[in-house]
């Protein structure tokens, strides 16, 4: 296996989750190629090949719109996420594109301190670029849980 690629892909994911957990959402679209595919869906929909999930974006613009909607338009209680990811596994590495999957869980912490296991699942990623300049051409967020508690505002 290629040690460097492994560590770089892990580092990309580390930067990605810290970006979200630190609330730097404006930087989040920058982790993606443009056009791209970002889809949050449930394992059930994914396995039954149903196209409608929880949220989809096919361009950086749609990702930016998500952020501005959260900043400007939508009302939701102050909350933060804590991503715990593990087992980044590179499943293919050819011609500048790396395919990888990783396990994740997200704990949602409300401003009043309430802490809940919000969701778990698998990232299925296609990564383009090299070194520290890698971006996600495709990021499927496949949730194990088909129930979302209350609402899903912040991206996963």
């Amino acid at each position: 296996m290629n040690t460097t690629t492994q560590i770089e892909v892990e580092a990309l994911l580390a930067r990605y989750v810290h970006c979200i957990d630190d609330g730097k959402l404006e930087e989040w679209p920058g982790f993606f190629a443009d056009p791209c595919k970002y889809l949050i869906t449930s394992a059930e929909n994914h396995e039954r090949n149903l196209p409608v999930g929880i949220f989809i974006a096919t361009s950086r613009g749609m990702l930016q719109d998500r952020v501005s909607a959260l900043r400007e338009a939508n009302i939701y209680e102050p909350q933060r996420y804590r991503h715990i990811v593990s087992s980044v596994l590179i499943t293919a590495d050819s011609g500048g594109a790396v395919t990888a999957q990783a396990n994740f869980q997200v704990i949602r912490i409300m401003h009043d301190g309430t802490m809940d296991l919000f969701c778990t699942g698998k990232y299925a990623d296609r990564i383009v670029g090299t070194g520290d300049a890698r971006t996600y051409a495709e990021k499927l967020v496949i949730l194990d849980n088909k129930r979302i508690d209350t609402l899903l505002a912040i991206p996963l």
Partner: protein
């Protein structure tokens, strides 16, 4: 003494006491009188049962039920509880079977819910078995009457429930058929956990007043605003159903109170970087961009631009509920049309730009209930009546809902 026992609810429906959202006895009576009473409960779409033997499991309130496509092609339904010692008969969300066998002792049922086999009924080697007088015909899960309107399946445990079409009334039927005009296909499922009593979600759905005030996204992009043409339809019999709709503003927009009022919800300067999400088509040819239709007690049919869905809310205890979204399109949608619906699904669901807030606002009410004592909601927007009107600055649909609720609950 529980709140229900002391029944502190004055006449009428312009006041609704908060204890309705936090009382064990109310919840128990709702199961018996509302869900198992003379009402029709949404079960699933007929499109989810294409082949003989297909079944889906769901709930009528707290009662687990099975809906199946019988081998003879008819749709059947019955309680999902074995007549022997009560085990769930089907524990998967959906499947296909020629008959249903209980895993506990292998009693078997046909897809109409008739008991067809009792293992070792005659014992083994002449020992044990059921007593001679045991009669299989006397033992079966509780059957559901099934109603089908445009491919939407409803069920009731009650003989007193009128025929589904009469229950809905012509105004509602017309508006259902407007959407269910062609065969549909499921595009995706989603469950949403709501931090509130199930009725608070129904209040939200039946409240045209909040839409442009709570949901900024709505108003900002003129998908909907109170000053747009629109209104509400309430069936003449006032049985707790309603439709709320709005349409594209043709010609020039005339100033109104709406525009004069200072609203948090108005951000005229706000624009999308990628507006493709709004590239919809007027597929109904009537300019109606939004139609929300609710059937008592807990069913919603949604058309928001080209995003179509049925929703159902079920209680999970007193202070939680589960909202199920079934997104659909038409069986004959081409790829392009499906792509439009997929993108517009970003508007709805738990992460939806225009439905996100509905996930939490019921919780905001629920959190004030414990301290509310005998306090009551004030439901006077649009006056005291509960009739069809061409404004959405009204809470008439709520009043209609509570009227039906009081009748059925006998409180």
């Amino acid at each position: 003494m529980t709140a229900l026992q002391s029944n502190r609810w004055p006449e009428g429906v312009t006041r609704v006491p908060y204890w309705l959202y936090n009382d064990e006895d109310v919840a128990k009576r709702e199961q018996a009188s509302v869900f198992e009473g003379p009402t029709w409960n949404f079960l699933c779409l007929e499109a989810e049962l294409p082949k003989p033997g297909d079944y889906v499991t769901t709930f009528v309130g707290a009662a687990p039920v099975i809906v199946a496509r019988d081998l003879d092609g008819s749709v059947t339904g019955f309680e999902n509880r074995c007549a022997h010692r009560g085990a769930l008969l089907c524990f998967k969300s959906h499947g296909n079977a020629k008959q249903i066998s209980c895993i506990y002792h292998n009693w078997t049922y046909d897809l109409k819910g008739n008991l067809t086999g009792v293992t070792f009924q005659k014992g083994i080697k002449g020992k044990g078995g059921m007593p001679p007088e045991f009669n299989k015909a006397e033992h079966h899960p509780r059957p559901l009457r099934i109603g089908n309107i445009g491919g939407i399946l409803f069920g009731t445990f009650s003989d007193r429930a009128p025929a589904l079409e009469d229950y809905l009334g012509p105004e509602i039927v017309t508006r259902i058929m407007r959407v269910m005009r062609r065969p549909v296909k499921v595009l995706g499922y989603c469950d949403q956990g709501l931090p509130n009593n199930w009725k608070l979600y129904m209040e939200n759905v039946k409240d045209p007043y909040h839409a442009s005030l709570l949901h900024t996204f709505f108003t900002t992009f003129k998908i909907n605003r109170l000053s747009q043409p629109g209104g509400i339809i309430i069936d003449a019999k006032q049985t707790g159903h309603h439709v709320s709709y709005s349409m594209i503003e043709r010609g020039q927009h005339t100033a109104s109170e709406y525009d004069k009022t200072e609203l948090r919800a108005r951000k005229e300067d706000y624009r999308l970087a990628d507006p493709s999400i709004l590239d919809g088509v007027d597929e109904f040819g009537d300019g109606i961009t939004l139609q929300i239709l609710a059937v008592f007690p807990n069913f919603i049919l949604q058309q928001i631009q080209n995003a179509l869905a049925v929703r159902k809310v079920l209680p999970l205890g007193l202070a939680k509920s589960n909202l199920t979204w079934t997104h659909f399109g038409y069986a004959d949608d081409d790829e392009k049309m499906t792509e439009i619906r997929v993108k517009q699904s970003n508007l709805v669901g738990p992460a939806g730009y225009i439905s996100m807030e509905d996930g939490v606002v019921g919780g905001f009410v629920q959190r004030t209930v414990a301290g509310a004592g005998d306090a009551m909601e004030v439901i006077e927007m649009g006056g005291h009546e509960m009739a069809t009107q061409d404004t959405r600055a009204t809470e008439a649909p709520l009043r209609g809902y509570w009227k039906m609720y009081r009748e059925i609950m006998g409180i």
